[in-house]
């Protein structure tokens, strides 16, 4: 029935024809773009089956996944039938909302349950799961040609993102070092940049901020202009999640770090330097003058929905949050624009801290080789391209997908400045925290101190000294200082 269409899709996957010819041919046959994309994805799966790798080695095996409710998960589930057809395996899964997701993961892993073979994880979480012996080093699979298909192309995964998921387990050890273990494999990632409301900016003659000072000023001007709304959305809840997006991206752009690692490997607090004090003062001033009135309870959700609803003029947070808020169903759909942001006027380029959604393999799985088949498929170029083109798998972690014309056009058509923003900031994008086992303790305390500074309970200078003292004491207690 679809012979001609299938042939066209297969010719395209085999690179016998270009995208232009594919689209022309499909249009002539009356095929919609969505169907054409599905046919190309199916052809890619068939091509994958013919690359000489024995995809059916685990036929009949069932694996189970623990997944977070997310558009990345939607993309995975939408393409699952192709994996099943390719391998003859079955995949079961449980999906939990993000509020409880990591509690579920911790409970499953700490109880050494073999129920789940693989699960979605953030890179930061692997700093706990890895040393605890709950997840496997995936290097042994990636580097084994008998287990990994020849088209997997590991080097295609963006370097900063790939390395951010690898750690040698030594507190303070550099991410992605030669002796690092690959605790997880990126599905997609978020850079922290500016998402601003173009309608509000244009109507009030506001310019897109280019550094921290202009961010503070523009946020104040936007608040005045908006009346009911507020100038800038940034996270503020008492959680580590307040520190990692815009805050740390701006902070690290000034060359600052959370901790210093001495030659002997011991760690010390580094957040009470003069540059850090200056950064904190401006950040606190910005929130006090132009942030959300209930900033101290704001998670990513409130930050995103406020900019999508037109309550805030901009946000310094995950770019993909802006991407989703610019979609249908939001009051400001189509009005949001994106800009790479470097807080330090003297910095050469933005250095966004990143959040990565990745896949990790449970050490308690009893079907590790079969699980690896799923992991290499879901993080492979074919699924990533499908997710990026047909679903909302932004930002994909593979450079080949970012080079894809159809994906770039899709983004450029509806998301003003998104591709440029990504291209400018991607080279400097990586995790800026020091990998160490007290990550969640110290960053949560940092967030709590930031709340006290914004509330005026403690001056910035004094607060940072108190924070550094407490951090050092906790590091010493844990034998890390």
């Amino acid at each position: 029935m679809y012979d001609k269409e299938k042939q066209l899709a297969e010719d395209f996957v085999a690179k016998k024809i270009g995208r232009r010819d594919l689209i022309k041919g499909m249009s002539a046959l009356g095929v919609t773009t969505a169907l054409a994309s599905t046919l190309v994805n199916a052809a890619a799966t068939r091509a994958l089956a013919q690359n000489g790798f024995n995809w059916r080695a685990h036929e009949g095996t069932t694996i189970k996944l623990l997944l977070n409710q997310h558009p990345y998960t939607d993309a995975m589930i939408a393409n699952l039938e192709n994996f099943k057809a390719l391998t003859g395996m079955d995949v079961q899964y449980d999906v939990f909302p993000e509020d409880v997701y990591f509690d579920k993961v911790t409970a499953a892993l700490s109880s050494r349950s073999s129920e789940y073979d693989a699960f979605m994880s953030g890179a930061y979480m692997t700093w706990t799961y890895g040393p605890a012996g709950w997840i496997d080093d995936l290097n042994e699979y990636i580097m084994d040609p008998s287990k990994t298909n020849p088209d997997y192309n590991w080097e295609d995964v963006l370097e900063g993102v790939r390395k951010s998921c690898a750690w040698n387990g030594r507190p303070g050890g550099a991410l992605g070092s030669d002796d690092a273990m690959q605790w997880c494999i990126p599905l997609a990632y978020e850079q922290n940049n500016l998402t601003y409301n173009k309608r509000v900016f244009d109507a009030n003659g506001l310019s897109v901020p280019t550094d921290l000072d202009s961010l503070v000023d523009t946020a104040a001007a936007a608040k005045t202009a908006m009346g009911d709304g507020y100038g800038i959305g940034v996270r503020g809840s008492r959680s580590w999640a307040t520190i990692h997006p815009g805050f740390l991206s701006g902070y690290s752009n000034f060359g600052q770090s959370d901790l210093t690692v001495a030659g002997d490997g011991t760690l010390s607090a580094a957040m009470n330097t003069d540059v850090s004090r200056n950064f904190h003062s401006k950040w606190v001033e910005m929130i006090q003058n132009s942030g959300a009135p209930d900033w101290s309870t704001h998670t990513w959700y409130q930050v995103g929905t406020d900019v999508g609803a037109g309550k805030s003029a901009m946000m310094f947070d995950a770019d993909i949050l802006g991407y989703f808020m610019n979609g249908a169903g939001n009051a400001e759909a189509g009005n949001l624009a994106f800009s790479a942001f470097k807080a330090n006027p003297d910095a050469a380029a933005p250095t966004p801290n990143i959040w990565i959604w990745a896949m990790a393999m449970s050490s308690f799985s009893t079907k590790k080789d079969a699980t690896w088949y799923f992991l290499q498929w879901v993080t492979g170029p074919e699924h990533q391209l499908f997710g990026a083109q047909d679903m909302d798998l932004v930002n994909p972690a593979r450079s080949s997908v970012w080079a894809d014309e159809m994906f770039r056009n899709k983004l450029s058509a509806s998301y003003s400045g998104y591709v440029d923003m990504h291209d400018v900031s991607a080279p400097g994008a990586s995790i800026k925290f020091t990998a160490q086992p007290l990550f969640f303790d110290l960053t949560t305390e940092w967030a709590a101190m930031l709340q006290r500074m914004v509330a005026g309970e403690v001056p910035v200078d004094e607060g940072l000294d108190m924070l550094a003292e407490s951090v050092n004491s906790q590091l010493a207690e844990a034998g890390l200082r």
Binding site: T106, S237, R238, S239, D294, T297, T444, Q451, G479
Partner: protein, 307 residues
């Protein structure tokens, strides 16, 4: 029609000898106790260890060091103070309001019965949902309560977002959810009081305030103590309202025991400290329960003696 029961084999009755009957009857309670005691002693075991999941190589017994560290730990003393403050204000407000409402609804009329049932509605709401509902109502942008506050001149009232008013806000939510519990308990108590003392007082023309202080309140004290016991134990263990509204913030304003223990376990994976915190909470709850129960028994004895 055939009578199938005629051919059915006689039913065998499982007989338990009288010797074992008490043990069989107490088996469910025994199993429940085991289900409680195993986690309890596991927590005691963990609380005596340096045990952080992210540092498995560091695990080992430190024999009470977790507890000793609390003595010099400002965060712990803050947690203790916040938990007790929260419990005190929440339970006091609930007792006053619950008693007041129960007195108003004491007379058995159709209207009073209807209102007392309607007032139970907050108690049917899951505390976490109630917290989210209040979070929306106190939103500075669109919350109805923020709007009402602005009408009385509180233009920039930030509710749970401000360290100055965060405690007040979560106590209000707790009061909203749990006052009906106290109200219904005291209402049942009031309606079960013997009528004679009140009739005698009415015949003698005793002022109503005097009747309240000298007759109603003393006779109601066992009910008050029971309600207080339940509410104090629950309030000092509060988690869902506070976590859903503020995650323990702003700053360390609302880091009560359960929030601190939860964050220590699930976020920091510091099992030893989390377990030690919960042991302290258990000890506080145990002491408070004993005080209340002893007083309750003393009062009961006294009332029996007077009767």
């Amino acid at each position: 029609m055939s009578d199938t029961s005629f051919n059915a084999p006689p039913r065998r009755r499982f007989k338990v000898s009288r010797k074992f009957l008490p043990y069989v009857l107490s088996l469910p309670a025994l199993l429940t106790c085991i289900g409680i005691l195993i986690p309890f002693f596991t927590a005691v075991w963990y609380s005596l260890q340096r045990y952080r999941l992210s540092q498995p190589w560091n695990r080992g017994f430190n024999w009470g060091e977790n507890y000793l560290n609390f003595m010099t730990d400002d965060a712990f003393w803050n947690t203790l103070q916040v938990s007790l403050t929260y419990a005190f204000f929440a339970v006091t407000a609930q007792l006053l309001l619950g008693l007041g409402i129960a007195l108003l609804l004491q007379k058995r009329t159709m209207f009073n019965n209807f209102v007392s049932i309607m007032l139970l509605m907050p108690l049917m709401t899951a505390p976490a949902l109630a917290a989210l509902m209040w979070k929306l109502m106190t939103n500075p942008g669109f919350g109805i309560l923020s709007y009402l506050a602005s009408l009385i001149g509180l233009e920039d009232f930030r509710w749970a977002s401000d360290p100055q008013t965060a405690m007040l806000t979560v106590v209000i939510v707790d009061v909203w959810v749990y006052t009906p519990f106290i109200m219904i308990l005291l209402l049942a108590g009031l309606r079960s009081l013997p009528k004679q003392p009140f009739e005698a007082a009415a015949l003698d023309g005793v002022p109503r305030l005097f009747v309240f202080w000298r007759i109603t309140l003393p006779m109601l004290t066992p009910f008050l103590l029971t309600a207080t016991l339940f509410r104090v134990i629950e309030s000092i263990q509060q988690f869902d309202i506070i976590y859903a509204m503020t995650q323990g913030g702003p700053g360390n304003t609302l880091t009560v025991f359960q929030v601190e223990a939860y964050l220590n376990f699930f976020q920091s994976t510091n099992v030893g400290r989390s377990a030690a915190l919960l042991m302290i909470l258990w000890a506080i709850t145990y002491v408070l329960s004993n005080i209340f129960i002893k007083n309750w028994l003393r009062l009961r004895e006294k009332q029996r003696g007077e009767a």
